[in-house]
Amino acid sequence: MRQKILIALGLISAAWLVRNLSVMFLQLPDERDQDAIYRILFFHVPSWFTCFTAYALAGFASIFYLVKKNTVYDTFAVSAVEVGLAFTLVGLATGSIWARIIWGIWWTWDARLTWALITCIVYMGYLMLRNAIDDPTLRAKNSAVLCIFAFASVVITYKSIEWWRTQHPAPVLDFRTGGGNIDPAMQSMIYHNFGALLLLASLLVLVRMRQEDFLRQLESLRRRAHAH
C-alpha cells in the first residue's frame, strides 16, 4: 500500500513537472527585462515556498511530539527538516545563478539571501544536534525543542533582515501586492511549480521517514545484540 502511494506521488509530480516545463518553454514569452533567465525563478521561488512549508511543518510536528510523545512526529520532523534543507540549497543555488546574470555577482548580503544562509545554518545545527545524541528519546525531545526555537528564530530573522537590507526584488505575487504586478500566466506558473515541488517534497519526506524507522530498528537491534 505504502509502495503504491510513493509511486503514485512520484508519477503525479513527474507528470506535473513535465507539464510545467513544457508550458514554461513553449508558451510563456521571454520577460521584458530579463530575457530567458527569468525562467529560473519558476524553480527558485517555489523552492523557497516548499522549504519554508517544510520547516513550518517540522516546527508543528515538534510541538505535537512534545505534547503527545508519539515518535512518528519526531520522524516526520527530521525528515521535513532534511528535505527542507535540500530545497533551501536549491533555492540558494538557483538564486545565485540568477544573480550572476542580473546583478553581475554570485552573492550579495541582501535580505532574502542572508536569511536563507542563516536558515541553512540553523537547520544544519538541528541535524548536528541529532547526530550528537545517541539516546533516541533524549534525541527526539531535545531536537523537538531546538526545532521550535529554530522556527521562531527563522521567522523573526526573516522580518528583521528585511528591515536591514533589501536588494532582492520586492514582492510581486498577488497575495502580497494585491494584484497587477505580474502577468497572470507567470504567476500561475509559480503556483503550479510550487504544487509540483511540494508533491516531490512529500515523496522525499515519506521515503526519509521510512529510513528513519529503519534507523530506529537498527538501534534497537544493536541494543539487543549488545545484550547477548
Binding site: I121, L129, A132, T137, V145, F149
Partner: protein, 227 residues
C-alpha cells in the same frame, strides 16, 4: 513568593560559585581582550569615521563571543557529582531553575560588558559616553536576549560531548536578530546621535525578541530539564 525565593537561591548559588573561582569570568574577559586586539589588525583603525561606523558591530561581536564562555558553564557546572539531577529532583520547578540561572548569567554578562566597554573606548579611541541612558537600555535588552537563549541552549546541550562547540554554533544564528538590532542601535548611540525614526524598529525588535524567547524558554524548559 516561594517561586521568587527559589529563583533567587539558585541565582545566588551560581554567582557565589562563580566568584569563588572566577574562572569563566577571567576567561571571558581575557577572550574579549584578545578579540579586541585581533580586530585592530583587520582595517585602518586610525580612521575615526570607520571606527565609529563599526563600533556597534565590534562591541557586540566581542560581547557575543565572551558571553558564550560564561553561558556554556551555566549548566555544565552542575554535571559533576550529579548536581543537575539533584536540582531537577528538588521541589523547585524547572522554570525557577532556569530563571535563577538566567539571572545569574545575566549579571555575569553585564559585568563583563561593563568591564569591556571602557577598554574598548580606550583602545579604539571611541567616546561612548554621549548617550549613556539609551546605551544602557540597549545593552540591558540585548544581553537579556543573549542570556535567555544561551541558558536554554546550555540546558539543551549539557549532556553532549561536543558541548563547547555545539553551543556557539546553535545560539549565534538564533541571536542574529537581537545582535543586529543591538549593533545598529549601539553604532547610532556611540556616534553621539539619538535614535530616530527608522531605528525605533530595531528597539522594538529587541523588546519583541526578548518577550518571545523568554516566553518560549519558560514554556519549554520543563521539557528540556525533565522530559
Amino acid at each position: 513568593m516561594r517561586y521568587a525565593s527559589q529563583c533567587w537561591t539558585i541565582a545566588t548559588k551560581d554567582l557565589r560559585s562563580e566568584f569563588r573561582t572566577k574562572e569563566s569570568l577571567n576567561a571571558a574577559i581575557a577572550f574579549a581582550l584578545v578579540v579586541l586586539v585581533l580586530f585592530s589588525f583587520t582595517a585602518d583603525i586610525t580612521n575615526p569615521e570607520l571606527i565609529y561606523e563599526m563600533s556597534g558591530g565590534l562591541l557586540w561581536l566581542v560581547y557575543a563571543f565572551a558571553g558564550t564562555l560564561v553561558l556554556n558553564r551555566s549548566f555544565a557546572r552542575e554535571l559533576p557529582n550529579d548536581a543537575l539531577d539533584v536540582l531537577i529532583a528538588s521541589p523547585a520547578p524547572g522554570s525557577a531553575i532556569f530563571l535563577g540561572k538566567a539571572v545569574a548569567n545575566y549579571l555575569l554578562l553585564l559585568l563583563i560588558e561593563l568591564i569591556c566597554l571602557p577598554i574598548f573606548g580606550i583602545l579604539y579611541n571611541v567616546r561612548w559616553e554621549r548617550n549613556i541612558p539609551w546605551l544602557v537600555a540597549v545593552i540591558l535588552l540585548a544581553t537579556w536576549g543573549m542570556t535567555v537563549i544561551g541558558t536554554a541552549f546550555s540546558a539543551l546541550t549539557v549532556n553532549l560531548r561536543l558541548r563547547e562547540l555545539m553551543l556557539p554554533t546553535l545560539i549565534y544564528p538564533m541571536l542574529i536578530p537581537a545582535l543586529m538590532a543591538a549593533m545598529r542601535l549601539s553604532t547610532v548611540l556611540i556616534s553621539g546621535e539619538a535614535i530616530t525614526g527608522n531605528d525605533w524598529i530595531w528597539f522594538r525588535l529587541l523588546i519583541g525578541f526578548d518577550i518571545i524567547f523568554t516566553s518560549l524558554a519558560l514554556l519549554l524548559v520543563e521539557v528540556i530539564l525533565v522530559g
